[in-house]
Every structure is written in C-alpha cells, then in structure tokens.
Symmetry: D3
Subunit: 308 residues, 6 copies
C-alpha cells in the first residue's frame, strides 16, 4: 500500500529532528527531505536544507537514519529542485554539481529516489532546449544508475512569474515531453515525481497519465489546484497560470483524489504520496502550516490507509 | 484558520454545561449559543434558551466564560432568529427589544457576533418591506456599533410552510438584496451569517457569493441541502421550497464543501463554521442528534483542521 | 406528423387575410388565431382580435374557412388567454362569457381546440383558488364537451410583473397541479396547450412531462427561454422570473427541441406546433417580427417535416 | 442510525474470534458472517465458513453470541451466496438444503437477516428461469417467515467470467426483476441486500432504486465500482462486465456515497452497511486486506457516525 | 465532400424508378439500394429487393445506371444484411450464395461498396464464433478483392428480440472486435458501414471510433438512437437493448452529428452518408416515410453541403 | 436583425465580381472584402486583394458600390490583418501605411468598419508591447474618427506556428487586454471584430464576453473550433494551440451558436456575421470552398433569418 508523507519544504524553520517528530505526531509515515545547498533561497519553497550534504559521510547517513527509525518514519526521497538547464552557466553548474551530491547521498542513506527538475532555458522552445537536455541529463542518469538511485522528475512547468515567461524553468510538463524524454534516455532509473495539481490547470487528464506512465512514477506529490473561473474569463489560458489558478491543499482543489488513488492502486503503485503545501492561506505561521499538514492527512486518509 | 463549532439549537434539552461538555467531547472548538427569551418556541429550532438574558449581568457573563474556558471551548456567537419586521406589531416589538438585549449581552461576554434575521412582512414584496427595514434596522446597527458587536444576518428565506408564503419571514436571502442592505446601512458591523444550504436550492452560486461578500461574512453555518428531482419535477421552483429540497447534514447534500472552504480560506475568512443540524433523519432522540454532530465533525475535519 | 404553425398574436397589425398569406408564404401549415374581444389590450401579446366573435355566424365561419383553404393553411386552434378566476368579478365574468363564445365559434369553424388559461387569484395559494376553479371550470368543460371542442390550457404561470406577484394569473403551471386538475374534472376534452419554455425556468423536466401527459396534449407552443446566470446569481429563484430568464425564439434558448420533438413523436402526438414569438429582440417592427417567424420555421424544420 | 460493518469473506484465514477482534479494533459495529458449508470454494470470495452450521445447536449459538458481545460487536446478517437455480441439479440441491440450515441458524442466533442469491440457469432468459424461481423460492420464503428471518437478496448479476455468460448466476439484478419477484412472492420477509456497485455499471440509478425499494432493503453492502473508459470504448456494454469496470473500495469508485446515504437516512433505513472488499489491489496479504478495512471505515465514517 | 443519401429499405413499396425520383425530388445525391433475394422478409427492414439480382446482366446494370444518371443520383452501395454465420446451415448457405451475387453485381454496376453483416451464431460467445467467421469470410473478402469491390460491415449487434438473445446476429459490434477482424483478414477491401446509432447505446465513443477506423469506413449510415432513462432504470444495460433505447431519425436522438461529421471531414472521409429510417413514429404510411426522408435531409444539410 | 456574410479571403482566386455573384447566389447578404496590398501572401488566408487600394478614387468606390448594389449585396467591412507592431520596422511601417489607406477607402465606399489586428512583438510580454501599442494606435484611431470609420480588432492570438511563439502576433486576445485597450484609447470608433472560435480554446466564456463588450462589437466572424482531447492530453494548454484544437466551419466545432446569437440579439447587436472559412477539410478546391460557404449558410440560417 502507499505511504503518506509530506515534503519538508513547508517547515524550513524546523530542524530535521523536529520534522521527524512532526511527521510521527501527525501520523505521517514518511517525509521527502529537502536538501538544497545551504544559502539564500532564490524563490518560495526553495533553498530549504534539512540535511546539509556539503560534507555528507556514511556516519552522517547512519545518524539520520537512526533519527528517522527512532520515530518509525522513513525518508520517501531527497528533494532538490534547481534549474540544471539555466541559460546562466554558473547557475546550471551549481545545480548539476549539487544534484550529483544528492544522488550520492541518497545512496549512502539507502533512499531510493531523488526528486528534481529537468530545468529549461525558458526563452527557448522545447525543441531549442533539447540538445542541452540530452547533454546534461545523460551523464546524470548514468550516475543515478551507478548509485542505484531513481530520479523522479516533478512535472511542474515552473511558469508562475514574469521572469519565468514564456517557457517556464522545467521542460518536463506534459505527456508528449515525457514520452520523448524516456525515449531519448531509456533508463529504468529515469521517471516522474507525479504531481496532479500541475496537470489540472494544463487540462491534461491526470488519471489517464497515471495509467500511461504507471511504471515511471517513482514518487507522488499530493498537491491540489483550483481553476478560478473569473481569472480564466479575463485572461484565458494564454495568461500566466497564476492568473487563473491557485495551488491548494488536497481536497480544496479540482483534483479527484478518489479517482486518482483508485487508478494508482490498480496500476500497482505502492510508493509514497507526499503532501506538498503551497497554499498561501495556510502559510502565515508555523502553527497554521502544521494545521495544513494535519488537515491534509485527515483528507487523504480516506483513500490511503494508516498502517498502524 | 477557521474554527469548527455547532449551533446549540439542536440540543434544547441540554443545559449550557452539558452543551459545553458535548462540544469538548466531540472535538468542537466553539458553539453558537441560542438565546431566545424564555417561553414557548413558535417553530422548530426556535425558542431555545441556553443562556437566559432576562437579567444578565457582568457576573453572569464571567460565569459563562469560565464554564467555556474550563473545557477550552469558545462562543462563536449568540443566536436569536425572530421576525423584527413582523406585521404583528407585538411580535416585532418583542423581537427588537430582545435583540437589543442580546447585543448588550454579547458585549458583556466579549463575544464579537450576534446572529439573527432581518425579518419580513411575508405578504409584501421586497420593495414593500424596505421602508420598515430602514426604520427598524438603522438603530439596531447603531447599537451594535456602540457595543462593538457585529450583526451576522443569516441568509435563510424562512419560506417553508404555508403560513410563511409567499415572501418568507426574512428579507435577506439573495446577493441583490444583500447589496442593497449594505448600501442602505453602510456599517462595518452589518454583515452575514453565511449558510450555503439556502443558496443551493435557490440556484445561487454560493462560491461566487462567498467571494463577493467575503468581508461581510462574520459567521458561517455548515448546513447542507439536497435538491430532490422528483419534487422538482412535480412542483417546479414555484412550489414551496420543501416540496423540492431537504435539509441535510454536511456531506449529505449538494453543497461542494471542499470548493466553498477553499474559496473562504483564500478570501481570508478565519472565523467560526458552525454545524446547524436540521436533518430530520437524525432528530428523533438526543442520542441520534449527538451522532449527527459526531458525523458532521468527521466530515468537516477533511477541510477544517483540528487545532490540537 | 405534426404541423408547424404560429400564434397570430405577434402580428396584431395584420388583417386575417394578411395573416393567412404570411403563413403560406413562410411555409407554415397552420395558425393559432387570436380571438380576444375587440377593445384595448390589458398586457403585451393580449387583446389581439384576428377574428371578431361578437356576432359570429355560420356564414362568417364559412368565409374564414374559405380564406384559409384558399392558401392551403389550417386553423390549429382559437386562442384567448384571460383570467377567468380574477378577484375582479367583472374581469372574471367578461372572461368566462367570451370564452363560451370562443368555444361555440370553434364548433362553427370545425376547429377542434380552444387555447386559454385557467386563471388565478394571484394573492391566494393554490389551495385557496381551488374551490373557485372547480366552480368556474366544471361548466366550461361541460360546454366544451357539448360542442365537441377540446380545451388546451397553456402552462404559463403568468408571473412576470409585480402586479402578478406572488402567485401569477394562471394556476396550471406544474405537473402536480395538472394531475389534480384532471382528477378534479376528468373529461377527455380538458387538456394542455404545452409550452416547454415555462417549464425550463421552473426546472421542470419538460421531456418527462411530455411523456406523462402525452394524451392530454392538444396543442404545442414553440417558444424558448434562456436562463441567465447573472440574474440567477443575484436574485435566485425567489426573484421574479424575468430577473433570471428571457423568452426567446426556438433555438435561441435552453429547450432541447430535438429531444422534445423526439419524445412527442413517439408518444403519438400528431397535432400542431405553433411558434409563439415573445422575443423582444425581434419585436420592434413588423418586418423584424416576420423575420422571427421565418427564422423559427428554418430552425424547426430540422425536426418537423414540411408537407409539400 | 445505520451501523457500519464488514463482510467476513475477505478474511477467510481468520478464525471467528479473530474476525470479531478485528471488527472491534477497527471500530466496526457489526459483521456479516459467512456461513458456507465447509469444503472447497468454487470461486473467489465464496466458500468461507466463519461459523460451521453442520450441526449447529442453541448452545453453539449462545457461544457465538457471547463472543460477539464480549467485544461489543453484533452480527449484521449471515451470508451464503450459492446458485439455488443451477442447471446442475446436485449443486442446486446442496444450495437449497444449506440455505434452509442458514435460515434456522439465524433464528437460533437471533440474527434477523440471511443474505443470499436467487441463483439462475445462466443459459436461459429471465422468462425461462421464472417457473423454477417460483418453485424453489416460495417454500424458502415460507420457511423464513416461519423462523422470523428476513431474506436479503444481493443484487449482483454474477456475470464476470465466460462460464457465467450470458445470463449470470443470479436473476435479481434490476428494478424490473425485483418488482416482479416481490409481486410473485409478496412476503414481508423477502427483500434486498442492496449493493450499489453492481448498479453503477448497469447504469441503473441506485439513488432512485434506494428510494423505490426502501422498505425492501434489509441490508446494504458498501462496495464501489469504477467504470473504465478505455474498456468501455473497446467492448461497449455488450462485453463481459469486467471488460469495462473494476470493483473498488468505497470512495475509489463511481458511487456517490454522500447522496446514497443521504437518501437512505431519509427513507428510514437504519440497518447495517457492510464493507465488502473485492478490490484486487488490496488483496495480496492479510495485512493489506486489513488496511482495506481500515481505509473503508475512515471513508464511510464521513457519512455514518461512530456510536461510541 | 460527403454525399447525402438514403437506404432504400424504408420504401419497399416503391419501384426502383420511384426510389430514384424520390431521391432526386428530396435533394438526395445517392441511394443505398437494397438487394435481398426476392421472397418473404424474415424481419423488419429486411427482404427488400429494389434490384433483383437473380439473373443480373451487364445490360441490366446499364439500364439501372441510366435510370440513376437520368436524375443525377448515384448508387452509394448495394445493401444486403443476412446472417452468413447462422447455426441454420441452410440459412447461412443462402446468405453466402446471394452475397457473392451482390458482390458481382456491384462490379457490373461500377458500384464500389457492398454493405452487409458478418452474422453470428447468437447462442455462442465471440470466441465460439471465431473459427467459423474465419472460414466463411476469408473467401468472401477474396472475391470482393477480385471484383474490386469493398465490403462495408454494418456495426449493428442485431440484438433486439428474444430470439436474437443473447449474442445477437452480427459479430461486428465493437472496436475490439473490429480490430481483431481486420487483423485476421488484413484486406484493404474489408471495412465498415459505420452507424453511430448502435454505438450510442453501447456507450462506445463513436467520435473516437470514427478517428481510429477512419481508413476502414467505406459507408456511413445516418441513424440516431435515444437512450431512455426510464427503461435504463428498470432494466439496466443487461436488459434487451430495446428496453432502454429507441431508434430515431437523425437529430431526434443522442448522436452529436456536428461532432461526428466534424471528425469525419478531418479524417478525410468523402463518401456517402445514407439516412436509414427505422423510427416507428414515421413508418405508418408511405407519406410519413417520405416526410421522414425530407426531415432528415433538412437536418443533415446543416453539416453536409448540397452539391447543386 | 443581423446580416449573414462571408470573408472573401477564402476565394482569393475569384474576381470581386465573382465574389459578389457567389454571395448573392448562396443567399448571403454581405461580404467582408479583403484589401491586402497587392503582392505575395506571407501566410495562409493573408495577402488577398479583392479591392486594390493602391490608387483608389471616389470613382473606383462608386464602381464597387454599383457592383454590390446590382446583386443586392453589401460590404460588411474592409479586412486587412497585418502586424503593425512587428519588431521588423519595415513590416510594421507597411502595415500602418496600408491600414491608413484602408481606413480612407472605407470612407470613400461608405463602409463603416475596417477589420484588422493590433499586432504584437511576439517575443515580448503584453507589458513589454504596451508603450508601442499606445504610440502606434492612438494616431490610427484618431484617423478612423476623422474618417467616421470604426476599427474592429479581431481577437485572434495569431499563435499557430513556431515562428509566432510565444506571444503570437496580435495583442488583443482576452477580455483583460480589451479592457485595458479601451481604457487606454477610449474612442467610440475602437472596438472588436468578435470571433468566438479563438475564445473557445482559450477557455474564455465567449457568451459572457459578448455581453460585456456588446457595445464594442462592430463586426462578428462566424468561425468554429473543435478542441481535440487527444492533443490536449499529450500537450496540455502550454503546447502550441494547433496541438489541441482545429478550426472548423460553424456547427462543426464547440461554439454554441444558438446561445451566442441569442445573447447578441438581446444585447442589441444588429451588424454583420461573416463566415470565415479556415477549415482545411473544405479547402482543397474552389468547388469545396464554395460548398463550405453553402453549408455554413444552411447552418447559420437557423439563428439568423434570411431577409428576402
């Protein structure tokens, strides 16, 4: 059966130990641990470092694992979402270098999955990004294979603000592109961190996608999104996506979770489903962010059984 | 975050202390306390007196507040729903007099909201009621301002039985009327006790209404309603409303609670959401009415987090 | 097969001969001829006198029939829509007296159907109108039986303006009421002039109604109605009906004509379907009203075959 | 109020005592106990014997009742689902003989309901099965009346595999057939074990059926079913039902449980609602089957209150 | 562009010459000519012989073609719909023998398409019919190839009466079966006479089917069907199909003709679209059947242009 | 009442005289005449010159008007759709210069409307295009005012091919932008050539837009568009628009023409509705393009009456 977890990005102000305790207290079975390099976050929800991988050793890994085991919680995956195809060569280099570090750390920790973005030069078409995608990602996937780690690409278009216009900062946003990615690099370690919330507003049938890509889904994000008819009327789908949709907690948006979980269970998915909180109505204080996690668990337990 | 509560009218047979204990036992965070004048109820769900305001003093208020505090429960509002515009002058006078008493009591208790009806002479058009609305309500709202109390008008048409035909006993049932009310008496203390169940069968988009009147919503009632196709076929919308709809517990009717709570959270609503039980299938005994409250809490906790 | 016609009320400025020519020129097969007593119209679409029945003889009837026959057009029914249950005794008396005249004229003309309203004292409930309905209508239906004429009651609530509030000026607006009417006066000559446009905004399933009352449908009006979401939001269904819907030509509203005609054909209905133009966008001049009839015929010929 | 239970067929590997403990631990209030004759199961979910009725005495019954009482759980009904109309005379005879035994045992246990199938010779039409239905079932219902036991016929068509084609192994699958059954044998002890999941894929309005047959519903199965658009496209409704639908846990299929429970509460149904797990995604191990029961309870508690 | 035609079966009482004149008079561009062997019809719409092929020569063909040319009408296809897989060996033999005759006649006439059924032993499963399908149809398709004629299999399940239960008399009713047929006999001369009306009640997406099988569609039947909710409620999809649907003229059923024709135009279909009248409401007299053809043409001309 | 016309771009191979004859023969009442400068078309449907404005005099205008009058057809507007905001300065200059010429010609011809595009530098955001929009369009609108001509901006995003990515070549594609345009240049001569087909795939409610901008709609294009679920699944709305939609004739796409025309009639629109053929299935030959115009007229005459 699936395991319910959350993404640690929503509690950057907690220590790893506090994160583990929070998960256990709220009845979560796992956590996706954010592993940005230490330093300033360049955007919301980024730059969170719950495990510092700068000089990460087997001993560090053992300590982390002991901490999780002590509360009966597991690590669903390591999360780091930069832009490895950034037109800014320095930014891209940092991304790739740290990503390699995250992959190696996953191995040390015995964690099977690293979640990240493909990245994109947002000023270019998909076609225009392809040669660089191939160049950057072939060696990364090879490393993942060597380390026995799976790479779960989140399907977020990263197209929310004017500086991400027009193409967004992550190529991997549609079934057509996924098909091409997996044909280009046909590795069993290359797959998806499947988030239905981004598909809802793109009008992509996420239930059908969950079926088609069932064997590529390594990790699932439980985020929801509400399409807003007023914004859609004014701007249409050519507007910036935030003009017509709002990210929300599971159950407060347009995703039909019963249907999605129904199809995932039949497709044989038995991995983590991690709540990703990006609902501004719940973000003001640490207390409200914890309530968001409590409410999300209450909602999802209708569809994902508690283990104990 | 919102607070989950219930309206005390459903347990008229319990003392205030028992009400508070029930709330605490079922995990409710607040209660709307019914404050009719003592005496005979003139209709279902009315005439309930959980706090007798006949000679209500600061000392009484302190006792009440201590009782609530002892179980960690709060008062979401005081509730009294008479017809202050009744064509029966005596009935109207009683209503207004007691309403003034409730407003003053709210102040003593430190409770911010009093919930009530505008009332209506049901034999007259909206237009025909307007002059009297103005005359009766301007001083009432002025008093509320003086006392620092907000008035939440419930949007129930009070049109259920033949003696309420044709106009019902409460003017405030549609956005067009609300707009006019708030233009007529533009006070920040004049707003709504928003109940989506009455909008569902009126075919009024309650999600849009929640957006438009977000800053006027002082209190929310969680009641549901199911439109029944058989009755609708036979009588159409010109029939008496009970001919084609049935009040039900949240989750057993046509309200999309995920969507409504979703929009309320974004609109900044952080007040109480009080379950109002008027579902006859659950009313036969005290035990079944308590089960109704238990079930409603289980349902709504998907969308409203528990605080502890 | 059904016959396509129109109601002559829309061209009050034409003589009967011009009406017949118009029908023939536009390919209509029949006309419902309006037969108000001569004099001032008391509301839109009323007071039209295409045949003056003041002193109507068998010779007059023969002349009228010759006129129709000369262009191959027939009379679908005689139309007169007053309020025979008006609280104004004089108005009611005029209505009943003239209605008797129309029934007798139908006989003289060999026209099988007279279309009209039950009427209503709009200030009283349905129950409150019932005794008078019984008193007035039993003799009227008896007369119709004697004359071998069928009475088609149009199902319009006549609730459009404030002076018709709250009950409207015609009782016969819903299946529940029709069932009771036909139980009360179980005559084969008592039935409906079925107009789906009034059912659409009452949310009554007109397709189901067409099945249930198939053997009571003596005449059909082809009028459409568009429910307007903006008005519905502001006023809800307790508003006056024109606040949330607009009468339109067939094809420009919410009626599914293919479905309705489909069910009527299966139910064995082979009578007239008469376009009733009450679409203000087409009413400004005689020319535009003729265009309305041309357009409506073009639309309905998809579902009702032309005979020639 | 309704009682939440489960059908014991999903845990054939547990002893009756373990079943009772499981129910109590997961907060279930009752269990439908499977009572096949001991021996080899002839198909999935059949052949389960949680109470062996071979030589069942009043003393045995007392022991069973003590066991249930010790954990505050009750027996919702006895379940045995064979084919009493099998064309194989021996199979039919075994079915009828054991069914009589189950009815008598129910009496001994003070359990009011026995759940079963009508059976069918699947190679014959409904008409072709009718004479035998009458012959076999009249005495069975008479016995049930004598014993004061109600017979709840589950509305499953038993048409899942090629050897059940074309008619399935249980006549009682549609409202038209139920009407005829109850007319044929008009006993108050003859009714339904109502399972909405089989109605969903048959396109039968289960909410309307719940209303029409409210006084015939003795027991409810909470199973869900998901219609799969890909299979429906390829095979259409003339394909074998598993070609286009999948049985699922409540909340993971197309049944609108809020609506169904809503109508059942209004119709006065206060009996058991027993989760029937036939979702293959949850069947691999005893542990996952228990999780299925935990998840189903979490889902249904939104609509059915816990009693304690 | 497509050509509008009709199937001659609806006017068995007309001579071929009268059929051609009717087509021309109503603005049809082509006719599917029914070519049963002379003799008694075994079911509705069968047994019609507009061209007698008993001893059909090149001279006969020339005469037929001259007749059609004289009115500017063409033959869209020859139609003969027997059961070549009947368990009655004699019936099957007659079917195959005459089918060979029709194919040869098509060649003589220069008509490209012969429309027919695969047939079926209705008491056996699809699997059980397959060996015989292969045996009978391989030589038939080979003959069609030799004669340069295409075979359009109509996708009607032929399951309307009890004697056709359970399997119906024509295998070719779903996409899954079509795929298998065309794999089994991969000839370019083997395709479909596509009729959306049978797909509507089977819940098969006919628009998707039109895309998938675009290059197999040799002929189209314009028939419609209305699914009736009352019958569906009572019998469900396991009832005989006429229990829950009714064949109707185009525009009077559930087919979305705009969408279907839209997709067919894009898919490159440029062949005939022949109205097939099986709507009992229009069948009583020759006159009403002609009106059915007039009405259907009026409806379809919205989507298929007239050539003149 | 509205006038039915077509855009002459679809018959570039016809002379103006032939265009006028075609309109009259097909029953069209008007034509939007394409007036590109003579020369090579830079894209499909562009570069058509039915009136050469190079040296256009009052005498030329009189000749054109006589030609139209001779067949009872009128000019609905002059059409020229270039990119006046092109980043290619030369292209922009040509556009503006010729546009001025078209405006002056409209005056000479007594034609009230010139239809065109705002244009856009497609590599820049809306914001980034705004200063230039203001600079280029203020003088153009001033000229239109001086000449008594209205400018109808077509709401096409011009985003179909990779070289138009990402922004498209016409700013004016959504209500939010229209509002801003009309605020920026608040002239009564500045409005829309309203085409619902581009709104359908942008998910903009075109019926609501028709209401909001009723007094800005100077001209209407009758083009339809079909959203294709397969393309939408694969690419989502971030794909190039042709990946998920197809332009079609009226009635073959997703526009609800009855609803749109219904609202336009009520809003008082009485201008031209011109069929714009961009449906590739009908473009292969002059004959099929004429059939497209015949079919479109047949479809739209249901909603727009013929004047004859």
């Amino acid at each position: 059966m699936m395991k319910l977890g959350f993404v640690s990005a929503i509690v950057p102000d907690l220590s790893l130990e506090e994160v583990v305790n929070l998960a256990a207290d709220l009845g979560y079975e796992c956590v996706e641990v954010c592993c940005w390099p230490k330093g300033k976050a360049e955007r919301r929800y980024a730059g969170v470092t719950h495990i510092d991988l700068a000089r990460f050793t087997a001993a560090d890994a053992a300590r982390v694992n002991d901490l999780f085991a002590s509360r009966g919680v597991s690590i669903s995956g390591l999360g780091y979402y930069p832009n490895p195809l950034s037109p800014n060569a320095q930014e891209a280099k940092v991304a790739v270098t740290h990503l390699r570090r995250v992959i190696r750390a996953a191995r040390l920790l015995g964690v099977g999955v690293v979640n990240t973005f493909i990245g994109r030069d947002w000023t270019k078409t998909i076609e225009g990004n392809w040669p660089r995608f191939r160049r950057v990602w072939k060696p990364l996937i090879r490393l993942a294979e060597d380390q026995g780690v799976k790479i779960g690409i989140e399907n977020c278009p990263m197209l929310f603000t004017n500086d991400e216009w027009p193409g967004g900062k992550n190529l991997a946003h549609s079934p057509a592109i996924w098909r091409r990615m997996f044909e280009e690099i046909p590795s069993k370690n290359f797959g998806l961190n499947f988030d239905p919330s981004h598909l809802v507003w793109q009008r992509i049938d996420y239930v059908r996608a969950a079926r088609e890509f069932a064997d590529r889904i390594f990790h699932v994000h439980a985020k929801d999104a509400r399409v807003d008819s007023e914004g859609l009327y004014a701007h249409g789908i050519l507007g910036l996506p935030p003009a017509y949709h709002t990210p929300k907690l599971p159950g407060l948006g347009d995703v039909d979770w019963g249907r999605l979980i129904s199809v995932l269970t039949d497709a044989g998915y038995r991995g983590p489903v991690c709540v990703e909180v990006e609902d501004r109505a719940y973000e003001r204080t640490l207390a409200t962010r914890k309530l968001a996690l409590a409410q999300s668990a209450a909602y999802l337990r209708q569809f994902i059984p508690a283990r104990k």
